[in-house]
Amino acid sequence: MAMEHLRWRPTVNERDFIERALQSDLRVDGRHSFDFRKLKITFGREDGSSEVQLGETHVMGYVTAQLVQPYRDRPNEGTLAIFTEFSPMADPAFEPGRPGESAIELGRVIDRGLRESRAVDMESLCVVAGKHVWSVRVDLHILDNGGNLIDAANIAALAALSTFRRPECTVGGDDGQQVTVHDPEVRDPLPLTIHHMPIAVTFAYFGEGNIVVDPTYKEEAVMGGRMTATVNSNGDVCAIQKAGGEGVMSSVIMQCLRIALVKAADITSKIKKAVDSYTTEKALKKVKRLPTSVPQKISVTDVIMEDKGDGELEKQTVDVQQISKDPPTIVKVSSHEDAQPMTESSNAEVNTSSAVAAGESDESQEIGSPKSLKDAIKPKHKRKKKSDKS
Amino acid sequence: MKDRHLSLNQTQRVRLEAALHELQSLAPAAASAAAVTVADTIPVNQEDNILKGHGTSDQDGEVVATLCGVVERVNKLVYVRTLRARYKPEVGDIIVGRVIEIAPKRWRLEINFSQDAVLMLSSMNLPDGIQRRRTAVDELNMRSIFEENDVICAEVRGFQHDGSLHLQARSEKYGKLERGQLLMVPPYLVKRKKQHFHHLEQYNVDLILGCNGFIWVGEHVVVGEKTKPTGGQQRFSTEAENFTPLETRKHICRLANAVRVLSALGFTLTVELIIETMEASVSSNAEINDMLGAEFYVQTAEREAKRRADLLRKKNGAR
């Protein structure tokens, strides 16, 4: 709050220009009143991390999960919590440390839209009723404030939740209370069950009855009031936040909601497209794996190894790995080295980056087909000979 | 009602309600007809070119009240007179204030207004009484004239560009007030009159009714002989000399309590009313602190109701 004076304040000219331009249905950046800015969704390396760029606004979302005890009044439901971080690099008015009022408001609006509308299935997150449930935590980092943070952060949260995979766990033990969480490379992690996508659409109200969608930073400084409507493509209203500001007629509100529905459908399709392309890309990486039984492959590599007569060390490591690891990881043996020379060193530390391992072991499995193996081995052999020579 | 702090027993409550009811019925009927609350439309003849004054606003061509109060019409002007609001200053008002801050070449006073009032160093008489330019030394010695939390009496000189008040205290009767009590009442209880300084000889007490609702009741100080303290030690010695006698202190307390009771009841404060209340307390042999009790409160209400009823009867009789 002490930094409020550092928030950019519009000059009289700019305020005047923005308001007057709106009279003729023209916005400063050339959009129409109800157009969204360009939306770009990218994903990070890990499951459950997303980056959203809406015009100049840049938001990152990250999802993690852990096992906790459930709330007493809801013993068989998991929990979902939204945390926001308004980084000072986004806006000079943001302070480090305690979240300000707008940060808390944003967190609560997205929280209401996702949790209270039951977008994410909570009951499937229950492992042992009353004892262990998954607590999903969504962290949203604002990297650049170009206006309309709520919409962008909401999209980031949705994208992150859609690509998030939680580890599978089985309940066992003698009393049925023992929970074992499996490594992602042991069993495939599971996606969250998302029933519907609540999309936040923000409207900005100016005097003279002008309304725009997706206000930019400057429009936000000039506006008289704002309303965020979270709707989904099924025609449901999930949450609305109009915290004071200029008064509008209720007919205007209904009109805005109808516009929001149209926009929501559009954005939902964009998110789904981005998520689908990401998942297929990831799946493709995995698909290179051979469906045949693994031990065969291992013997093949052993044979090849002995033929080549090199890589004694690797063979030993292979043996070691055979014993200690589950099949999928072992395959990432020498063949793996060719494809990814750098991972030679990471043989020993294969368990640390499980995602990496999974990806890479998949790749090695792909190369494990006899044809490609020989091709793969040859250059290495040549290389080895060279090194021997040298 | 501000009588929450009083614990009235049943009879007292009944008496009080009867007195208040009588007071309300004595008020002219016109007052209730013109009362408006926020967002009420004020009936106005459209062709008249009405001037919209304080407390009104123009919405869709209608005159709408923005305050709760009574509508007053004066020729072409329509405005809403509200009661419970902060002080509304006028040029020439006598006010009593309290020093909050000492700023370069000025003192900032708190006067129950939306901003602090400013008393410039040049608007204040220097201790030695000479009329001269204020030098840097004077500026450094501002603390010897007024310090933080001093009570000062001054007059409104005008308004500054940002809306805060400009005060002046050039006359002898203005300046620091000592040896007395400062009371804060709602400003609407103090009406603007010709005289705000009252010297009650029989009690040797000064009574200053500030237009901003700050009331000063203190020992009488002879104007002109006001000793300007020139140094700390001298101040102590003069204080020791001018010790306020106990009788005067008692009178001050009685008057102050009378003001408190009247303001709690919501009666306009006039000198006559205050003195009358005080004399009633003396004649009924009430202890000074009993004046703030329930019984005196109810008695004062009854007395005032009776007085107004008498006045009305006299007026009606005279007609």
Partner: protein, 309 residues
Amino acid sequence: MEYVNPLTGFRVDGRRPNEMRQLKGEVGVVARADGSALFEMGNTRVIAAVYGPREVQNKGQQVNSNEALVRCEYRMAEFSTGDRRRKPKGDRRSTEISLVIRQTMEASILTHLMPRSQIDIYVQVLQADGGTRSACINAATLALADAGIPMRDIVTSCSAGYLCSTPLLDLNYLEDSAGGSDVTVGILAKMDKVTLLQMDAKLPMDTFENVMGLAIEGCKAIASYIQECMQINDLNLSKIAVPTMDITQPLKSLTCCGWMAFVHCIAVHRNFLGLLERPMEYVEGPVGLLLSPKSRRPQNSPSHFVGIW
């Protein structure tokens, strides 16, 4: 659990679906504050105190010097809910509700009339039984009117929900925590404009429209009740304060006075009662000539700009 009895149509506390809880408003409960009010909606009790306009305490917060700074603080007393609250003030919900109340009241207060000053609204929940947000806004409206702060319109607020396929007006805590939708609406009563709208949990669009319409009706009912409260309080004060006898006397006693004397009497007594304290410059005619102010008021003094606002 059936929140609406299918046979009788009564709710858990015996109300009908479109019936509001009992309202009670009282003004002037905090003696020290410029304006204060106590508002009850059923079992929800809220107290609001307004200080201002007064000098800005923290100059860093003053963003726009042409307008008053409005601050609001919402807190729930530790004893207001069934279990003792751990953090009554600093938690996220209280911060959000403080923000919401502040922006709602800012939409109505004419802040440009009080530049460079600060208005503080403190709201405290004494008993919480659902609808605290609405009760707080209603109490704040009453307190602001009590403090004599000019407002564009009365702001009232009410909540409504949807349970068992019925829109319900004014939810209590039990109905609120049932998991159904909760719509809180705040309107500017005379202008019929929606200024606050919050909603959670899913609802189809048409149902939402019905529920919002019901909440707006509730708000209007509360507005008429609040106006009554204001009228009663204000009237009492004005009747007791002014000693009204004296004004009429000289006007009636025209017996031997000439025209100038008559006018002089009016002038003196009107001055006496301070009726013309403000608009002296605008009075025309003979009375005005007598009453021209002693000193010219500076043209650019905002608090004396008698104009249209």
